[in-house]
Amino acid sequence: MSRKRVNAVVIGAGAAGGVVAKELAEGGLSVVLLERGQWTTNYDCRKDDLRNQRTSVLGHPFGPDDERNPRVIDDTNGESAVVKPSEPGYQNNAACVGSGTVSYGAMAWRYMEQDFRMRSIYGAVPGSTLEDWPITYHDLEPYYEKAEREIGVSGEVTNDPFKAPRVNPLPMPPLAGNRECELLRAAAGRLGWHPFDVPMFRNSVPRQGRQQCMRCRWCVGHSCEVNAKNGTQNTVIPTALATGNCELRTGCHVRRILTDARGRAAAVEYYDDRDRLQEQPADLVVVSGAAIESARLLMLSAGKMYPAGIGNRYDWVGRNLQGHSYPRVAGLFKEVIYDDLGPGSGVAVCDFSHGNKALTGGAMITGDFLRSPYQFVEKTPRWAPRWGIEHKRFMREAYRFHASVGGPVQEMPTWDSRVQLDPKVKDYWGLPVARISGQKHPHVVEIAKFIVGKCEMWLKEAGAYKTWASIPNLAVSGGQHQAGTCRMGNDPKTSVVNRYCQVHEADNLFVIDGSVHPNNGGFNPALTIMAVAYYASANIVKTWKGTGFRS
């Protein structure tokens, strides 16, 4: 059934889609926001160590559902497997109103200036498609600030001498650190490093009609029962709806973008919450489905003018899939570290983000969010007893006495880490599913090993008498930090969208989400995804004139 024409359809109500919908609606465009998942509210909040978006052994509450959304994953041995969203390897983020921003750990990082200019600073990396962004940190600075203000960020980064220049301070002060955080802060200071309070999408004081964090131990992977964690679902999406210009339709699974005879986007076709096929005509279409599903959707929209998918004339759609690898080190202490004060991850250093000898990039290093007992069991060192009375004794002697640090290593994008349409496996709606294949670049593991060394130093300085490390392997990463599959660039032959996130081949089609990152920085990506969304939306609103574009 064809619906009434609107100015803009935004596909996906996650980090980017929520921002875009609000900006366009405030700019006076009529907007339909389509989300395949559902609304969750803080009333639905159930803190469950086994069923959450981080530990999903008994499933995951924030979608997509296991029954209808398989993917095919090729592992490093060339074997492929059909996996469900809650299973390891799926590379899941979330699917609900707000997507990952409902259950994220909520670190709100600006990338550093260098992250946008990796190729110029470090030169080409053999085997990698590493490239500069076509925009700089300074293009994004005002939009970083807008994201921090409108979504709501607490923290204190003044003491980080490596940060990119910023005009204004963060809108909220940091939460006080827990014991782990203060121990690490002091140790980093003794090492001559530069510790500071991690910026977080979290109310440290009452703000925007919602209360402050009450510091529980179930934060990352869970929604917030007191609504103190700030995502798009409790900020920009309600604002968008309040303008009266935006309609949110949940349970709507977009199956393809329809194009007209000139190759411009004309409408999107989706299955509504009762599985009826609907057609929504629009003047412009914004794809914000996150890196894996956005690439898949462009490919699913193949047609006469676009035999390999929209924007895919030069075979760049789905390439350069990135996420982050996390080298981590845990250490045992003689004193009790655990004080039951969430969310954790309060302190970080950026001393090793860039400028490391013989390395292309590095990583921000931070204490970890609180680990649940079961998460700890899964990560115990090889020498620890796995079962029996000795296991219980080990748990009693280790759990409350451990600290853990690590950080997201710069990815070196590769041509072969990619999303394709699987030739055989279909989802519930009969659409070819995403097939994920390829490997990480080996340099990522080299950086990870260097970072592990720094993590060990940090924990030992803090007083750990024994440490153990986990170093990422070469398996492709995507998952919660997925990015890169519809690269932004000036040259249509080597990128999918231009500097305004506009698909080179179709001027009224935009991809705005993590997909456009040429590289994913050495930080968690959500704030950058939001900043790019503000930036790209501002350009749409500025150039928008009725149904055409001002030139």
Binding site: Y43, R46, K47, D49, L50, V57, D340, M395
Partner: protein, 196 residues
């Protein structure tokens, strides 16, 4: 007016709920203690789980509800493991018969530990039980037992939050605090209460 969240009242409500649940169970499930496991499999699982997390000053896996947890999940999220358990528990019993001439459920604790150490490495002898099958079975039941002991009590394990208490961390507070916001109207409160 008496507060809706008066602890006395809550205790009373809890007691009624348990009584109701008990009647339903006794009506519908005559004799069979488990949803998925047979009685023999249940007995075998009891032996294995308590070897993996034995009782000491804190409850062992079984008293903490491990078999309830596993049995429940085998008809739910762990449906796909049903065959692994069925075959694995039977093979483990064969290994016990062949190696110790007794059924698994009656095996002495030290012998059971010895046997499980072999299964962990894939080196137990039981006809038709391959190395990789043994290792898969062991790592699966170990992971599930750990989940039951340290996971959320709502799934049937971690009874009385023994997993949390043993580690010295506080038990789960009442969840969903905004439901208990007393500024809400009476009507919206009772509808919030009904949510699962």
């Amino acid at each position: 007016m008496r507060n809706k969240w008066d602890p006395e009242r809550r205790r009373f409500m809890k007691a009624t709920a348990v009584a109701v649940a008990a009647t339903t169970i006794s009506c519908s499930r005559s004799g069979r203690p488990w949803r998925f496991l047979t009685s023999a499999e249940g007995a075998a699982a009891v032996a294995v789980c308590d070897a993996l997390i034995p009782p000491d000053q804190y409850a062992g896996a079984v008293a903490a509800g491990a078999v309830v947890f596993i049995d429940r999940q085998l008809t739910g999220h762990y449906r796909n493991y049903a065959k692994l358990y069925r075959d694995g528990l039977a093979a483990l019993d064969r290994a016990s018969q062949e190696g110790y001439h007794t059924a698994l459920a009656g095996l002495r604790a030290d012998c059971l530990t010895e046997l499980l150490k072999k299964v962990e490495k894939g080196e137990a002898r039981a006809s038709g039980w391959s190395k990789s099958q043994q290792q898969k079975f062991f790592s699966t039941i170990l992971a599930h037992t750990m989940q039951s002991y340290y996971g959320d009590p709502r799934h049937g394990g971690n009874r009385d939050e023994v997993g949390y208490r043993m580690l010295g961390i506080p038990a789960t507070p009442v969840r969903g605090r905004s439901k208990h916001d007393l500024t809400l109207s009476e009507a919206s409160q009772s509808s919030a209460e009904k949510r699962p």
